[in-house]
Structures are given as C-alpha cells and as structure tokens.
Symmetry: C2
Subunit: 444 residues, 2 copies
C-alpha cells in the first residue's frame, strides 16, 4: 500500500486530489490532504474511504516531519517559497517529492543528497511549467532521433477565457493567481534571435508583443517571458540560434496593459499614502502632468491615445476614472490594481476558461530540407470551479505520482520533466483528458 | 583635549580631514584617521603633529571597539551600510557620531538609546543631504518667525561640471559616486503639487523633467528625487500643498539619459551573458527589434530620434555603436554603462566642478501678500582633487564636530541637521568657504 501526502488544499488543488483519490480506489493507496484549514482539506476528500483531510501548520517543524514520516510520496501544493523546508524533511525522511512550482536554486542544491538517497524530487510538474516542458521535449527528441538539426524553438502558452465566455473589453479573466498576473514580466525578458541575445526591459515588454497564429483560433498577442535562455541547456539545445518562450493574450490586451505599466500601476515596491482616502480618479490624477481638461482626457493625451480609443475604453471600464474611494490603506499601486481587477476579471459560475499551448520548431532534416513543425493544444474548462487551468496543473502531478508508485521512474535527484521515461507516459495519459497536441509540418 | 576618530580615508574624505587637522592645531585636538589602507590614512595626515593614520578593518568588532573606545567623537566616512555597527559601538562606548549619509530606519531606531546616553548621532551632515537641509530650514524658520504661511517648497541641487571645463556633449562629468549616478532615480518619485500626491515612475522620470532658472547661470533641467514626501514632517511643513526635491542637470542631459533608461542600460538586476565576448555594437543590437538598417539607424528609429539628433550624438559619443569588445564577464547593463562612463566622464587634472543649490519657497506673509523667495548658492571647485563636491560634503562634518567639542550642541539622539543650534553656526562658518546663498524675494 502506498501512502500519498498532499500538502495544501487551496483552490488549485482539486484536480490533483480528485485524480489521486480515483487512483487510490483502484490501487489501494491512502491519500492524506493536509492544510492549515482542516475543514477545507476534509471537503476535498468528501468522505472518500481512501482519503483523510487533516490539519497541518507547515511552518511547525515537528508536526511537518511527523506527518511526512508516515507517507511514501509528498505532493506539495504550497506556495513556492514553502517547498524548501518540506524538501529538506523529505531528504531526511527519505520520501519522494512532487511540485508544480519553478525549481529554485536552493532546491537544485539538494540534488546530490536526493540522488544519494535514490529519491526523485520532481518540480515544474504542472501546466506551465510542466506540460510545456514535456510536450516540447517530445517534439525536440523526435526531430533529433530522425537526424534533424534544430534551428529555432518558440513556445507559447496562455491561460485565457474561452470565446463563449468572453464578455469584457479586455478579453481576459483571472483563471490563476491574480498577483502573478499583475506582476508578470517585471525584470528584463531575455531570449535569442538569429544567434544573438535579445533583451526587452519591462517598460517596453507589452509594447513589443508580436502576433502568433493559432490554427483554428486565429491570431493572439505574445509577449516574451523573462527566462527563455535558462532552458537552452536543459532542453538539450545549447547552441540554438533562436529560442523564445512567450505568453499569449487575446488581441488588444497588450496595448492596454502597456498603458497600465506606463502610468505606473503595476509597481509593488512602495505604498500609496492615504490610499484609504483617495478616489481612483484622484489616484490617476497623481500620475499625470498638470494641464487643462478632465483626468480622462489628460490621461488619453499622456498615453497618446484618442479619448475613445480601445485602450482608453479598457481603462475606463476598469473604473480608473471613477470618483469612488479606493479604501485600501497604504496599499501599493500593484495591490490596488489587483483588487480592482479581482472584481472586474472574476469568472462567473458558468464561465469557461481556455488553455492554449503552441510550440513552433524550425529544423533542417537529415536530407537538408528546412521544415517547421507547429504543435498546438487547446483545452477549455467546464465552469468556474472546474477550470482547464486547474485540471492541467493538477493532472500531471497526479499522473507522475502514480508513475512513482508503479516503480516506473528511475531518474533520481532534483529534476524537471524533460526525460522520456517521464514525458511519454504522462503525455499519453493526459490525452485521455483531452490534452491533445495537433501537429502540422510545413516546408520553410 | 579632544580625540577625534575619522573612519575612512577614501577620495571624498580630504576636505573633512584637512579641516579637522587645522582645528586640531588651534584647539589641541588629536585626529586619528583609520582605514583598511593604512598608507592612505597616513598620506591624508601628511605628517601633521596633531594626527595619525592607522590601520582598521571596520568589520572586526574587537579592533573597531578598541579604537572607538580611545576617542571622544567618531566621524564615519564609511559606505552607508557600514555605519550601523559603528553606531552600535558608539552607544555602548558612549561616543558621539557624525556621518554624511542618509539616516536609515535601523539607525533611527537607536534614537532612544542615544538620547538616554546624552549622545548626539548626526546623519545627513554633508552637502545633499546636509547643506540642503540646513539652508532650507533657515529660510523656512525665518518665514515662519515673521508670521508667514508656507505654501510651496521646492529644492534643487546638482553636482555639475563648471562651464569652463564643460567639453563633452553630455555637459556632465563624474564628481561623485559613479554607481549612484547610473542607478539614480530607480523606483517611483513622489512629491506633492497643488495639495495632491504626484507619482513619476522611473521609466518616465527623465522624460518628465522641468526647467529651473538659476540666477546668473540660466536654465537647468530638474528631475524629481524619489523622497520629497519624507521631509514634510521633519521640515515642519506637514500640511504643505507643494513640496518637491529635485536634481539639476545641464540642458540636454535628461533626454539623452531617458534614452539610456528606455533602451534598458541602467538595469543592475541581471547579467548580460557573454559580455566578455560581445562588442558594444552587438550589445545595442540585442535591445533592438529586427529590421533593415544599421544598429545606429535602427536605434534612432526606435527612440524616435533623427540619426543626427542631439540625443543620438550623445549616445554615439559614448561609443555605444563601436565594434569594440566590452570585456566585462557577466556584468549587468548598469555596470557596463558605468565602466563606459567612467572613461568618458572622467575629470581632467584641471577640471573644475560646480555645485548649484537652489530653494524656491512660496508663502503668504503676515499681511496676506503672496511672495516667493529664491535662494541660490553656486560654488566651483579648484581642480580634479579639490572639488567643490568634496569640500561641501566634508566641511559640514568638520564644523559640526567642532561644535560638539565646544559644547554648543544640546540636541541628543539620532538627528539630521534641521535645528537652529546646528544650522546657524554651520552655515555661518561655511560662508567663510564661499558657501553663500543669494536671496531674491518677489511678489507672486
């Protein structure tokens, strides 16, 4: 019998817990869900005979070690900064660990210890990062095995709203951590183009998007992720002249988000004084040079927009020019914006989200013919609770956990899912859940 | 006899040490200059009978405490982050402390302990911060004492190159910490205008400068400092509807610096990979969208400039389009820029720097007449070594130290120089060194 410990029972954990309980039934596992809110943990188990919800304050070392010690595999669905202490306990107590978060430098440093103990610590095992790595590696390995030389790798992913639920001028709703959406892209995006490095600072990231054609869906806007260069070695394409990872948004999003960045509304580094007394209207005025005209007209002028332009329509729809109190004492601009968007970009009960993932790989095949393969996956959610996002983050975690229990994983140490023994069975099973990449190859 | 300990003998310490040695002769002090480079410390004493240069590694607690224990007053000319440990020793050993650095939150927290021990810890006792506080407070107090109500306080300061030594297209040379010049303004500038808060994010700070007329000198560009709001309480003008602290630059500087910011060259947060192999030309290309034309032409287009414009001339003069190796492995953009500027903006042996400081205060006098007083100070240096900058940073430290030895300071605790018992005698003595504020009052 295998004992699985899932730490964290928050909003994004449902799909993973459901999957594990289903497997538990078939395979005789026992699944413990531990959370600081035991009622929430119990509700996720929903009386299942192979599961139990329990209380855990993960910052209490003794409690944490006691519960980890009684299980075989730990799935940590905690916020990213809390994984490390769980990982350290897993080393001591000789338990495997699975997470969907980016693997930190500190986590990578545990690699030797995990390997020495024959443990697998698998990170980035969700959707993005997760399914993106696995589907990309499958394509890259296939091309290489057929004698191809890869010259360009571009990978796009977006957590979007499905067209049938798209009813606001931004064509966007929150289907994932709102804070991360507000702060997305801060820093400098780094990628490679035609053999040279490319840098785009945050201040012009959303101004310098490009268009990507998604088969059967049309054109989307893509802005560069910060980290494209990091994956050259790990994807086995170290000398590649073109590599880009980017985020997809509906048409019109980037210009309007660029306006928010330019005004200064995504800055989380200082508090707005008296933000409890100010109105949104007064707040916007604080960013504008003096001059005649209404705040809205001066904003349009400042942004180089017509007052009735699409960008201005989006800003106005957010309520940025309303004489309504902000009511958030000493909040940063980013937090004020997040609160405003939480209200405006909320999924309704029946709203369906939509995940798009697309890889575009250029290569020269063994006969020296230049080709491009485009591999696209589109999946829609069911409703507000059963989003495609939560499904695609949770299922890979569950499937990989099952692979461990079946002794099908021989990799040890700290890893992300780029090896065939991982991506083949995970992608295969994901197809049963509608995760189907359609490939199209053309001559270039 | 008073024993003065000066910690730090770096480039900016000469004026302070010279002043203290002169006083030592008159008043029978003994001055110890301690530095990790004892030869440098000795060279600053230059055989003076009332002084001694000695070795000190300030990070070694026992050595630090031993030397502090043998003196009465400590002048710390260390980098700002090293003051705190010196201050903690000064509390224990009951010594006064003087610095020219901004007072940190941690330092302010020592206030009660310093006050209980009847000690004065004076920070921001240089030029800017330092002379700006003192000269501003003198004006503000005078207006208030005459029954005036202050409605606007705007304060400008710049460390510039004197017109007779101004021989480059930027009209700027380094007279102070180059790193601070490169990173200046990062964050969001905050000030007040017409009773409302104003915010300018870094990405548009150098684009939204305004012009300031300096009597007898002409117009200068002024960009807002980050911190104007901080001084409302400490200057005793808490409810003031207009407050701004800003930095002065020669005409043409801000547009060109804004271009560097927009390209992304002032970012110190990530390393440029292969910066040892790249040329400046390739580096610039990495920031530009693809397209036809030379890197310089594409840069001009990207910046919305004519290729022969003043901004482009400045960038070209820096050598940003040259096919010359950068040769700085994994340096950040900010560090590469700093190295380039160090070479280009170096003071020649006979170059004279120039300090401009100007306060503009609007008030309603006791007869309800609206007035504006403009108070300006201009001081030029002698040469590369004897800069106005180092003189105006060092002299207030020395003068204030003398005031302590004369028992003329009754303030205790952690402070900045805003009280009359400090600013009156310091400003009076500074006049002997050419620090003369000329006032002009007009009706508005």
């Amino acid at each position: 019998m295998k004992n699985i410990l899932i730490i964290g029972a928050g909003r994004s954990t449902t799909a993973c817990i459901k999957y594990c309980l289903k497997q538990a039934e078939k395979k005789g596992w026992f699944v413990t869900v531990a959370d600081s809110n035991p009622k929430l943990a119990e509700s996720k188990i929903d009386g299942h005979p192979n599961g139990r919800g329990t209380w855990l304050d993960v910052t209490k070392p003794n409690d944490r070690r006691e519960i980890i010690g009684r299980h075989d595999i730990v799935v940590s669905l905690l916020p990213a900064h809390l994984h490390l202490m769980v990982a350290q306990d897993c080393i001591k107590l000789k338990k495997h660990l699975v997470t969907a978060s980016y693997v930190s430098h500190e986590m990578y440093r545990l690699g030797d210890e995990a390997r020495d103990a024959s443990l697998i610590f698998m990170g980035e095992m969700g959707l993005d990062p997760g399914i993106d790595h696995m589907s990309a590696m499958k394509l890259l390995d296939e091309i290489k095995e057929e004698g191809g030389t890869i010259t360009a790798f571009r990978s796009y992913a977006g957590g979007l709203i499905a067209p049938e639920s798209d009813d606001n001028p931004w064509h966007y709703k929150f289907t994932w951590n709102p804070r991360n959406v507000v702060l997305a892209g801060q820093g400098t995006a780094q990628y490679m183009e035609d053999g040279g490095y490319k840098y785009i600072p945050y201040s012009r990231l959303f101004d310098e998007y490009h268009l990507v054609d998604v088969p059967e869906m049309g054109e989307y806007e893509a802005y560069a992720n910060r980290d494209s260069l990091l994956y050259r070695d790990i994807y086995g394409v170290a000398g590649i002249p073109n590599i880009l990872r980017a985020t997809l948004r509906h048409r019109g999003f980037c210009d309007a988000w660029h306006a928010l960045v330019k005004i200064g509304l995504t800055d989380g580094s200082y508090p707005i004084l008296d933000a409890d007394k100010l109105t949104y209207h007064e707040w916007m005025n604080a960013y504008l040079p003096k001059g005649p005209g209404s705040v809205k007209d001066r904003m349009a002028k400042f942004l180089g927009e017509d007052p009735e332009s699409e960008v201005m329509t989006k800003l106005e729809w957010l309520g940025l020019f309303r004489k309504k109190k902000i009511n958030l004492p000493n909040a940063t601009p980013a937090l004020i914006l997040e609160h405003l968007l939480l209200d405006k970009w909320k999924l309704s009960a029946d709203d369906k989200d939509m995940i798009i993932m697309q890889h575009e790989i250029e290569f020269t095949d063994k006969d020296k013919v230049n080709k491009k393969v485009t591999s696209s996956m589109i999946l829609k959610g069911e409703d507000q609770d059963n989003t495609a996002m939560s499904k695609l983050v949770g299922l890979p975690l569950g499937i990989f956990t099952k692979l461990i229990t079946e002794n099908r994983i021989h990799t040890t140490g700290v890893n992300i899912p780029v090896m065939k023994e991982v991506y083949e069975p995970v992608l295969e099973e994901l197809e049963e859940y509608g995760v189907i990449f359609k490939e199209k190859t053309e001559l270039i």
